[in-house]
């Protein structure tokens, strides 16, 4: 009798409509269940659940060797805040990211701008090939090579610097220098990667813009700052985001270059993942390591959001 009731009767209800649509697309739903179902399940089991599980474990005194795992609230986090090794790791990782990301990207951008226009004898392709070369092998073999280059007694770096009057240094042993040695090596390895991405962005800028600017009397510098950089903003944002994520996960090169078989807490370069690895898998303090993992996750999340806010292209 109420108007609401009559209206509902006149039009097929929400349920009925979605039901008919469901029937109409039945083959698609079968596909969804059969294909998307397993994928989602796998996704749930090896991504979503572990992420929440890490958060849950970080609230417990969770050790692999003890069956009793009491809930201790945020104790792991307060302990982390006072842990000198973790603070050192956090500091080193941040330093690593703060230096590696801008240096790599500025270098890669410069090289990309220089290589964007063709050269005599297609020399630009040779350069692109050479700059991309370190990207191809994985991190471990190149870390091994650099370890030898940095070697205090036989390393070629000390030899080369001796001509400039620099005294012999223990590049990877000195705790002040080691992080810089690893930064230099990482920049070397990743410049080519970002160069390729920047080159793609540069190719998408229409030539007309530059021609019009030249006719109006713009200098090369003005063309760079007024046309190239603003139009490269989306690519720049993308590269900054992935480079930051990558930098905060630094591990393989640190492990290979500084961790001997006798890896000790006095390790000159402690980074977050290394600290996590030692706490979790050497001392089996999984709850504590999970708290570190959560800190890593929160940092990466916060930085990504910040970068999106800050660098988003203004349309």
């Amino acid at each position: 009798m109420t108007p609401v009731f009559s209206e509902a009767a006149a039009r097929p209800g929400r349920w009925a409509r979605s039901f008919s649509r469901w029937r109409w697309y039945a083959p698609q739903w079968k596909y969804c269940l059969a294909v998307l179902g397993p994928v989602c399940l796998a996704y749930l089991v090896i991504r979503i659940v572990p992420i929440f599980d890490t958060a849950w474990m970080s609230l417990h005194n969770w050790s692999l060797v003890r069956p009793v795992r009491p809930f201790i609230g945020l104790d792991n986090y307060t302990k982390l805040a006072g842990d000198p090794l973790f603070r050192m790791a956090l500091y080193n990782t941040t330093l690593f990211a703060v230096v590696t990301v801008p240096v790599t990207l500025v270098l890669a951008f410069t090289v990309a701008v220089l290589l964007d226009k063709p050269m005599r004898g297609r020399a630009e392709n040779v350069y692109k090939f050479l700059f991309f070369l370190p990207v191809v092998p994985t991190m471990v073999p190149v870390s091994v090579v650099w370890k030898w280059i940095y070697d205090p007694s036989y390393g070629i770096l000390n030899y080369a610097l001796s001509f400039l009057g620099v005294p012999t240094q223990g590049w990877l042993i000195n705790s002040k220098l080691a992080i810089w040695a690893i930064i230099a090596m990482t920049v070397w390895k990743s410049v080519g990667y970002y160069m390729v991405l920047f080159l793609v962005g540069l190719k998408d800028i229409p030539v007309d813009y530059y021609e019009a600017a030249s006719i109006d009397g713009a200098t090369a510098w003005q063309r760079l700052t007024q046309i190239t950089i603003p139009l490269m903003r989306p690519m720049l944002l993308f590269n900054v985001v992935i480079a930051t994520i990558f930098a905060y996960n630094v591990f393989a090169q640190v492990y290979v270059m500084t961790e001997g078989p006798q890896g000790s807490p006095a390790n000159p370069v402690r980074v977050i993942v290394l600290d996590m690895y030692e706490n979790g898998f050497r001392y089996l303090k999984m709850g504590y390591a999970s708290a570190e993992a959560m800190v890593l996750l929160l940092i990466v999340f916060a930085l990504t959001i910040f970068e999106f806010r800050f660098l988003r292209p203004k349309v």
Binding site: V49, A123, T138, Y159, V300
Partner: protein, 285 residues
């Protein structure tokens, strides 16, 4: 006099054209290539020559003894096959899961699917290291520590792959799919006979990207493998170098052996790899 004038002329033309660029790029390129050249050259030196001071660039008595010894002393071949198997199976799995899920997200319209898709892409930026402890415990419970299934498990899906394939498949016109549906084609057949062949280029880009990504993964095999038989090349080399660090020629040969397959693949598929990097351009699973 005459030759001098010609020479200055050439120099001027060089500087006017792209000499300046060469002046900046050539030293940089030297610095970039040097470590790789140094690795290969050191691997060809007998051990007495590696600790020569002052160091020499070229080996005086080139030898391939190091390569021989690497394979005798350390099962690099086994590591290589392990890496090949793990990366190969993971790549096939990633291609299958990414493209089939990508098709559903791209062409089946539903609010719920959008929500699921959003959850998928939200995790792209979550680093693997931040949730690997529960995955490790899961593999432990399954009894898969130190085994191939355990090594492969975290790499059977890739959030970025799903995102990438959805973008690709969205570009395929709806009319084509509708026509196939009207002709009585099942969704599976549409996916298998139409969508997959039509996205060959992006699929191969994703394949290259996924393969290199899994091949280079370090943390996961490090925590999950305990016996030498299960090491991937990455772990094998990392432990090899810490054991034999004094014999540097040997270590350099090991590094070269590890890097060589990828370098060779790069020489052959240069253009494809660059395309893969530019199309996918994102690191981390």
């Amino acid at each position: 006099m005459e030759t001098r004038r010609v020479r200055t002329q050439i120099l001027r033309r060089f500087l006017r054209e792209d000499g300046l660029r060469h002046l900046i790029l050539a030293p940089l390129a030297f610095l970039i290539v040097f470590p790789i050249a140094w690795m290969v050259l050191t691997s060809l030196k007998p051990s007495a020559e590696t600790i020569l001071w002052p160091p020499r660039m070229l080996p005086q008595v080139p030898t391939i003894q190091n390569y021989y010894e690497v394979f005798v002393r350390w099962p690099f071949l086994r590591f290589f096959l392990n890496s090949l198997l793990v990366s190969g199976v993971s790549t096939v799995m990633i291609l299958l899961t990414s493209s089939s899920a990508g098709y559903a997200f791209a062409k089946i319209k539903s609010r719920w699917l959008n929500v699921v898709f959003f959850v998928f892409i939200a995790t792209i930026i979550v680093p693997f290291e931040s949730y690997m402890i529960p995955v490790y415990l899961l593999v432990n419970r399954l009894g898969w520590l130190d085994s191939y299934p355990g090594l492969i498990l975290p790499f059977i899906i890739m959030a970025f792959g799903v995102f990438f394939m959805r973008q690709t498949i969205q570009a395929i016109p709806d009319e084509l799919i509708q026509a196939a549906r009207i002709d009585g084609c099942s969704e599976f057949a549409i996916f298998w006979r139409m969508i997959l062949p039509l996205s060959g280029g992006p699929l191969s880009a994703l394949a290259i990207y996924a393969f290199l990504n899994v091949w280079g993964f370090f943390t996961w095999p490090l925590i999950i493998t305990t016996t030498q038989d299960m090491y991937t090349t990455e772990i094998g080399l990392a432990l090899f170098q810490s054991q034999f660090f004094i014999e540097y020629g040997l270590v350099a040969a090991g590094a070269t052996v590890t890097a060589l397959p990828l370098l060779l693949v790069f020489f052959v598929f240069q253009r494809r790899i660059i395309t893969a990097v530019t199309l996918t351009g994102l690191k981390g699973t």
